[in-house]
């Protein structure tokens, strides 16, 4: 089995290819947000590096968010088209799952926290379990103060990671027993995506390209306003 992974839900964009032997090749860029420009050349690059043909890929994994809407959709649209074009199934994985998975050996409560812009962050909580991590709260959007208050109430040792953790460092520093994740954990990575999706592929937890659903969490502003105006909120 050869898996292509595409990840573009944050300021970083990356592509990786993996097999039963683990990640064969990966690349990423966190320079300016040129996700749409980068993905296709990155796919060509990782295939060359791994010395495989695109037609050998048998499953496509993609980060389904939450994240920055435009970048997220660019990754999903690219991945769907690759899977559709090759006639292969897909696996969708949450960006927060990827963030937590990269810190899977921590004994602390693992809390990925990505910048959602407009003064908010996306976050969820995880615990390390044999063979990976287990999500203990649902992905949601918070203001940094809300999340800090929530973590303070946990009363346990916390590993907070992600570009959102870094951006709002001041608000989170008030939480005791909190450790900030290293810079290498600021963004979900295509490497983690391929590693985490691999066991799912072995269990055949596949979806069709048309069944991939982005995890937006936040409604479009216009829809929020419309519901408020109509008293439907």
């Amino acid at each position: 089995m050869l898996m292509l992974g595409i990840e573009s839900s944050t300021a970083q964009v990356g592509v990786a290819v993996g097999s039963h032997d683990g990640v064969l090749a990966s690349t990423h860029s966190s320079r300016d947000r040129r996700h749409a420009e980068s993905i296709a050349p990155m796919i060509q690059f990782v295939c060359q590096q791994a010395r495989i043909e695109l037609s050998d890929i048998s499953v496509v994994a993609v980060d389904i968010g939450p994240g920055l809407f435009t970048g997220l959709r660019v990754g999903i649209a690219s991945a769907m088209a690759v899977a559709h074009g090759l006639g292969v199934p897909m696996i969708g994985v949450s960006s927060l799952d990827l963030g937590a998975f990269a810190a899977e050996h921590s004994s602390r409560l693992i809390v990925p926290c990505y910048d959602a812009r407009r003064g908010e962050v996306f976050s969820a909580q995880y615990r390390s379990v044999p063979g990976g991590v287990q999500r203990v709260t649902e992905p949601a959007v918070f203001t940094p103060d809300e999340l800090a208050a929530d973590l303070l109430a946990q009363n346990e040792e916390i590993l907070l990671l992600g570009d959102g953790a870094d951006r709002y460092r001041d608000q989170f520093e008030m939480v005791g027993n909190l450790e900030f994740g290293a810079k290498g954990l600021w963004y979900p990575s295509a490497r983690s995506l391929v590693e985490l999706a691999h066991p799912k592929a072995l269990r055949e937890e596949f979806v069709l390209p048309s069944e991939i659903e982005p995890l937006y969490i936040r409604l479009p502003d216009a829809e929020i306003n419309w519901k408020v105006r109509d008293g439907r909120a």
């Binding site: 296709a40 959709r73 690219s78 769907m80 390209p209 216009a222």
Partner: protein, 334 residues
């Protein structure tokens, strides 16, 4: 069997894919419109449009291939609109189209949305004689173009403020008629008196540029002062003023540049008065008049595939790091 091009279009609020042979023979033309989704907001909401595009993109492509009876191996290239338009919407089509081209081993062709509208005429009339004056009118654009050859355009004039379609939407919103304004006003105008109110024809005499914001303002002012005048008469008089200005300039261009034809393009070209007058005028002037089918005037991917076929021959494939450009201009000279 000729060159089959898969065209993809996501620049605004239509998710579309089509397969066209040799720039004119339409094998399939699938359009998933979001008009109903945006109607409640009174206009296109970019984030809402992008969400719908990502959901519809692959089903629309799949349907275009099946309906055209085409296998990926039959395709000569994948063409996609790269601008102008809503950036978040454009990027979905571009990302999907590049990925398909990549995995199918086909060239990727970057298409300018405005040029694609101009090519709607060639879908039905591939042997159209040039030069032709093309009036491109839509919700986002109002341009008078002299097409002298394939890929050779002279921009004679364009709107200095609102696009013609935008003026329709704004007047419809002011009158409380709903969205989108074009088809609604067009329908009402059929029952009204176009001579009821003489609205101003801005800049009708000077140059080839247009201005519609003054017309919109005078409609609003008139209705405020004369609340008893029937909406159908306002609609008919407004439409008369718009069409009059558009075609006065188009006709002058036909004469000045000795054009062999006069064509319409863009969403507003679906307007019945504009269509009828264009044909009348062309006939009176002894030039070929051409109005594409309504389905080819509004955004679609058949026109993208048609323009892509010409672009492939002139420019070849676009690179895999091609992005989208929300303000891409029509490639013109002079």
């Amino acid at each position: 069997m000729g060159d089959l091009i898969l065209g993809i279009e996501t620049s605004c609020d239509e998710t579309a894919a089509a397969v066209v042979r040799d720039g004119h023979d339409v094998l399939s033309n699938v359009v998933s419109s979001q008009i109903d989704i945006h109607a409640r907001y009174g206009g296109v909401v970019p984030e809402v449009a992008s969400r719908a595009h990502v959901e519809m993109m692959m089903p629309v492509v799949a349907e275009a291939m099946v309906e055209g009876g085409v296998d990926k191996d039959d395709l000569a290239a994948v063409a996609c609109t790269v601008g102008p338009g809503l950036i978040g919407s454009l990027l979905i089509g571009v990302s999907a189209a590049k990925s398909l081209a990549l995995v199918w081993g086909k060239p990727f062709i970057a298409v300018n949305h405005l040029e694609a509208h101009l090519y709607a005429s060639f879908l039905e009339k591939p042997d159209m004689e040039l030069p032709a004056v093309i009036l491109l009118v839509s919700g986002g654009h109002t341009m008078l173009v002299l097409m002298e050859g394939h890929g050779q355009y002279r921009l004679l004039g364009q709107t200095l403020d609102d696009a013609a379609g935008e003026a329709y939407d704004k007047v419809a919103r002011y009158l409380g008629l709903g969205y989108p304004g074009g088809p609604i006003i067009d329908k009402m105008a059929a029952d009204g008196d176009p001579e009821a109110v003489r609205f101003p024809r801005a800049m009708a005499k000077d140059g080839y540029d247009f201005s519609f914001s003054g017309l919109k303002t005078s409609v609003v002012n008139y209705v405020r002062k004369n609340p008893d005048v029937a909406d159908v008469d306002i609609a008919a008089s407004f439409q008369e003023a718009v069409v009059d200005v558009l075609l006065t300039k188009a006709q002058r261009a036909v004469h000045e540049f000795d054009a062999k034809g006069l064509c319409l393009a863009g969403g507003v070209a679906a307007n019945s008065l504009l269509r009828a007058r264009t044909l009348e005028l062309a006939e009176a002037d002894g030039v070929a008049g051409f109005v594409p089918a309504r389905s080819m005037c509004t955004d679609n991917a058949a026109m993208v595939a048609a323009a892509g076929w010409w672009r492939m021959a002139s420019d070849g494939p676009a690179p895999m790091d091609q992005g989208a450009n929300s303000s891409l201009a029509l490639p013109t000279y002079a």
